[in-house]
C-alpha cells in the first residue's frame, strides 16, 4: 500500500484528509470521533472572544449539489473553547487545528493567544466567513491590507504555525494570499464557502434560511475550489489545505494535484457518514497503488508539471 502520510508546516498527518472548521468540531468528543473515523487532522469550530448563538434556525439547508449554511459563527467563546480544545488535544492522536475569528485584528490576536495555551498543532484564522457582513462588515479576506494586519497582529502574540482561511468570493484572493505570506503566515486554507447563495421554498414563497443568504458548500463548489487551489499553488510559497466539494478519493487526488498538501472534507459527511475520512484515505491509497505513486508529495501540485 502507498504511504498516504503528508505534512503541513512540519506537522505530520497520517493521511491528507482534514475535518474542516464548522463541521462537527464543537466539542472534544466530536473531534475525537472524526479522528477515530480516520481524519488525518481535525479542526475545532471557529472561536471568537465572546460566546455567540449565531443566526436563528434554519441555518443549514441542502440542495441537490451541496449545502447552504449561515450558522453565523456560533461558538462557546474563547475561554470555554480553550477548555474543550485542551481536552481535544489530549484525546486525539490526529493533529488538532484551532480556528478563530475576531472583529478587529487585535481581537484576532487576543483569541489566538488564548487558544495557543491549549497547544493545538496549528491555528487557523477565519477571515472569510460570508454570513456576518451586517455585523462584522466586509470580510478581512476581501482586502490584502486588512488580511495582512490580522496576520501581523497574531504573529506578534504567538509563534504557533498559522494558516489563513481565504474566501473565493473576491477577485483579491491571490493578492490576499501574497499579503498574508509576507506577514509570516505559514499556510493557506482554501476555500471558505462560495456565494453567498439563496434557496427559496416555492410553496411558502420564502427564502429557506432565516439569514436569507448563506455560503454554498459541497459538490457544487468543487471546480471553484480546485481552480482557487491551482492558482494559489506556488503563488505565496505556502502549503495549502484544499477545501471544497471533496467527497471521494478521486476528488481528493484532484485537489492534491491542484496544489493542496492536505484536503478538507465536510459536506460529504452528509451522504457518506463520518466514515468518509477513512474511506477517502483508502481510496487515495488505492489510486496511488494503481497509478504507481508511492508518496503523497508526488501528487501535490502534479497538475502544474
Amino acid at each position: 500500500m502507498a504511504d498516504t502520510s503528508t505534512k503541513i508546516c512540519g506537522i505530520a498527518l497520517a493521511n491528507p484528509t482534514v475535518l474542516p472548521a464548522g463541521f462537527m468540531g464543537l466539542s472534544a468528543g466530536s473531534l475525537l470521533r472524526a479522528a477515530e473515523a480516520g481524519a488525518g487532522a481535525v479542526t475545532m469550530k471557529s472561536a471568537g472572544k465572546e460566546p455567540r448563538a449565531g443566526h436563528n434556525t434554519p441555518v443549514v439547508a441542502s440542495f441537490e449539489a451541496g449545502l447552504l449554511n449561515a450558522v453565523g459563527l456560533s461558538n462557546a467563546g474563547a475561554d470555554e473553547t480553550v477548555r474543550e480544545l485542551k481536552k481535544a488535544v489530549a484525546l486525539c492522536k490526529a493533529p488538532v487545528i484551532a480556528s478563530f475569528f475576531g472583529k478587529t485584528a487585535d481581537e484576532f490576536a487576543e483569541v489566538a493567544a488564548l487558544l495557543a495555551e491549549a497547544k493545538p498543532a496549528m491555528l487557523e484564522a477565519n477571515i472569510s466567513c460570508p454570513n456576518v457582513h451586517s455585523e462584522f462588515g466586509t470580510p478581512f479576506a476581501f482586502d490584502p491590507a486588512a488580511a495582512a494586519s490580522v496576520v501581523a497582529a497574531v504573529k506578534e502574540k504567538t509563534k504557533m504555525p498559522l494558516s489563513v482561511k481565504l474566501s473565493p468570493n473576491t477577485p483579491a484572493m491571490l493578492a490576499v494570499a501574497e499579503a498574508v505570506a509576507a506577514e509570516g503566515a505559514d499556510a493557506i486554507t482554501a476555500i471558505n464557502t462560495v456565494g453567498p447563495g439563496m434557496l427559496i421554498n416555492i410553496e411558502t414563497r420564502k427564502p429557506v434560511l432565516t439569514n436569507k443568504t448563506g455560503g454554498v458548500s459541497g459538490a457544487a463548489i468543487k471546480p471553484i475550489a480546485v481552480r482557487c487551489v491551482y492558482e494559489l499553488y506556488g503563488k505565496a510559497e505556502l502549503p495549502i489545505i484544499g477545501v471544497g466539494g471533496v467527497s471521494s478519493g478521486r476528488d481528493a487526488v484532484e485537489m492534491l494535484m491542484a496544489g493542496a498538501s492536505a484536503v478538507g472534507i465536510g459536506t460529504a459527511i452528509m451522504h457518506r457518514g463520518l466514515g468518509v475520512f477513512g474511506l477517502v484515505a483508502r481510496e487515495i491509497a488505492e489510486f496511488m497503488d494503481a497509478n504507481g505513486y508511492s508518496r503523497v508529495s508526488q501528487l501535490v501540485g502534479a497538475a502544474h508539471e
Binding site: 463541521f23 466539542s27 466530536s30 460566546p51 434556525t57 434554519p58 443549514v60 449545502l67 465536510g266 452528509m270
Partner: protein
C-alpha cells in the same frame, strides 16, 4: 430526505390544554422515535418527534415562541418539513414503555407499532397533562397512569411504577422518553435489573443530518446516531443527565 418539502395542515386535534396534534398531508414513512425538522417561515426550525404516521402527525406543546406560533395555525396552512431523521426505537418482544410528560408523543406511536404488546407507564404532573391515555389504551397495551399530585391514576413518579414492574416481571427492553433526569433514573434502574434500556435523547439541533456537531453528546450525534441510544451507548456518556449545550455550544447544567 434532506430536501425541504412543504406540507399542508389537514387536521388539528386538541390533545390537552397545552398540546395540539397537527396532521399533515404528507406520506413520509417514519417509525416511532424518529423526528422531522419542522420549519415555520420567518419563525424558525425545530426538531419534532413523529407522533403519527400515514399521514404524518406531530404533537406540539405550547411552550415558547415557535410552538406558540404553531398553535395559531389553522387547517390549510403550509409548514416546511425535512426528514424523517434519526434511528427510532429498536424492536423487542417484551417491552416496558416509560413516558414522562411530552415524551408520550413518540411512545404512543411505539405502543401502536408494537400492536399493544407492551406495558406503558405514562406519567405527568397532573391529570390534565396526561397525554394520549385513550390512544395508548386503544392499542391494547397495559397502561399504568401516574400523576405527581395523585389527581389521576397512581400518585407518584413513573420510576416508582417501573421499580415494581422490574421487580415482578421480565422484560427484554425498556423504552423511555421524557425529562432527561427521569430517563437517567430509568436507565440506572434498568442497569441494576440487567434489562436493556433505550432512551430517546434531546439536544439543541441545527442541521439534523449529522454534519454540524451541535447536538453531540460525548461524540454521539443525537440527530444522526440517535436520538434513541441503547444501554451500551448510555453507559459511555458522561454528559447524559448532567449537561447539554446551548445554541452557542456552551455547556449548561441540566
Amino acid at each position: 430526505m434532506n430536501e425541504l418539502i412543504a406540507a399542508r395542515i389537514v387536521g388539528i386535534e386538541n390533545e390537552n390544554g397545552k398540546v395540539k396534534t397537527f396532521i399533515l398531508d404528507c406520506a413520509m414513512p417514519a417509525k416511532a422515535g424518529q423526528f422531522v425538522m419542522l420549519w415555520l417561515p420567518g419563525v424558525g426550525e425545530k426538531p419534532i418527534s413523529v407522533s403519527y404516521v400515514k399521514p404524518l402527525g406531530v404533537s406540539i406543546a405550547k411552550v415558547g415562541e415557535f410552538s406558540g406560533r404553531m398553535h395559531q395555525l389553522k387547517e390549510g396552512a403550509h409548514v416546511g418539513l425535512r426528514g424523517p431523521y434519526g434511528n427510532g426505537f429498536a424492536a423487542r418482544k417484551r417491552v416496558a414503555i416509560v413516558a414522562g410528560g411530552y415524551g408520550a408523543a413518540p411512545l404512543a406511536l411505539l405502543a401502536e407499532q408494537l400492536k399493544g404488546k407492551a406495558v406503558v407507564v405514562l406519567g405527568a404532573k397532573t391529570k390534565g397533562e396526561l397525554l394520549f391515555e385513550q390512544r395508548i389504551k386503544k392499542t391494547g397495551a397495559r397502561l399504568i397512569a401516574c400523576t405527581d399530585d395523585g389527581s389521576y391514576g397512581r400518585k407518584g413518579v413513573v420510576t416508582d411504577a417501573l421499580a415494581e414492574l422490574l421487580r415482578n416481571e421480565r422484560f427484554d427492553a425498556v423504552c423511555t422518553c421524557g425529562p432527561e433526569v427521569m430517563m437517567k433514573k430509568v436507565f440506572e434502574m434498568c442497569e441494576a435489573a440487567h434489562v436493556e434500556c433505550f432512551a430517546s435523547l434531546e439536544r439543541y439541533m441545527k442541521c439534523g443530518f449529522g454534519v454540524c456537531g451541535q447536538c453531540v453528546i460525548d461524540g454521539q450525534r443525537v440527530c444522526a446516531d440517535g436520538p434513541v441510544f441503547a444501554s451500551h451507548q448510555l453507559r459511555t456518556m458522561s454528559e447524559f443527565g448532567k449537561t447539554k449545550r446551548d445554541a452557542s455550544g456552551r455547556e449548561i447544567r441540566i
